[in-house]
Symmetry: C2
DNA sequence: ATTTAGATGCAAATGATTTGCATATATACC
DNA sequence: GGTATATATGCAAATCATTTGCATCTAAAT
């Protein structure tokens, strides 16, 4: 089960499985959405009311750094987190914030060019922006999610 | 000449060509570097010492919005600006901050997939991260640029 | 030269994220 | 199960890039 695996991965790396961490993972594992720290905090309060936003930040950072969860940046000034931690990309709707996962990595860089510059690529980020079906028809901007 | 064209494009769109704006464009047109607002401000002071950082921000934003200049986000929390405004991408060295421009857009999204979701893509962003030749050899992290 | 919408400078506000530090608590060990 | 201690948490305050309010200035149209 996803949430068991996520929690286990904390222990595997020598981190304590606190009530707070369990609750955060519970929230992320329970949705396919891409949540800001603030959103995680709001949802996690039902499971663990005393949980502080600072702790949410500290743990989302820790888990993302450990690649237990994923972090995405849609360029709107706040990071989003998701249960998936494998390499993938998204379509982001500028109208309502909807996120669609792209099945295959659409990037292929000219290897010759990179080798010419002796540059060793370790990672990349790609996100596409536009309007989903709901937001694209004129007059409807879609309710901001 | 590049700087003349950039300045002209301000006038073309009904914006005033102020001493401050001319100086900012002068700085950007004079380099191929990708500068933060702070860096633009530091360099522009030689041409226009009273120029305020707020004004630098306001004008870089204006010009980027008008696609007179380019804006890039390397995910380190501050925007970079450059004289180029055409669609292109970069390699960003995590060791020294060096930026290498990628000649061709390496992105091709599965059109069938996008059509299935009735998503209309208006733009995308892609940046690759890693280590340049100078920073890749062990022991040398390269001087931060 | 006059006029005035648009631009600038300065100070203060934002807003997401981080940090310092005293207190609390998982987990290892007996 | 009880105890020790390295870790984690809560709260308040700090960061830091960027934005905003407002009084003053100025480019450029007349
Ligand atoms: Mn995703
Ligand atoms: Mn560039
Ligand atoms: Zn990819
Ligand atoms: Zn591209």
């Amino acid at each position: 089960m996803l949430r068991v695996r996520l929690k286990q991965s904390l222990a595997d790396r020598g981190y304590r499985l606190t009530r707070q961490r369990a609750a955060i993972l519970e929230v992320l594992a329970g949705t396919r959405e891409h949540l800001t720290a603030e959103e995680v905090h709001r949802r996690v309060r039902f499971l663990c009311p005393e949980l502080n936003l600072t702790t949410v930040y500290r743990n989302l950072n820790l888990m993302a750094r450990q690649k237990i969860i994923g972090r995405v940046d849609f360029g709107d000034g706040r990071a989003r987190f998701e249960a998936r931690s494998d390499h993938h990309h998204h379509l982001f709707c500028l109208g309502c914030g909807r996120v669609i996962e792209i099945p295959a990595c659409p990037v292929s860089i000219d290897e010759v060019f990179v080798r010419q510059h002796s540059f060793r690529i370790t990672e990349h980020q790609f996100e596409a922006y536009g309007y989903c079906a709901d937001c694209d028809r004129p007059g409807s901007e879609g309710a901001p999610v």
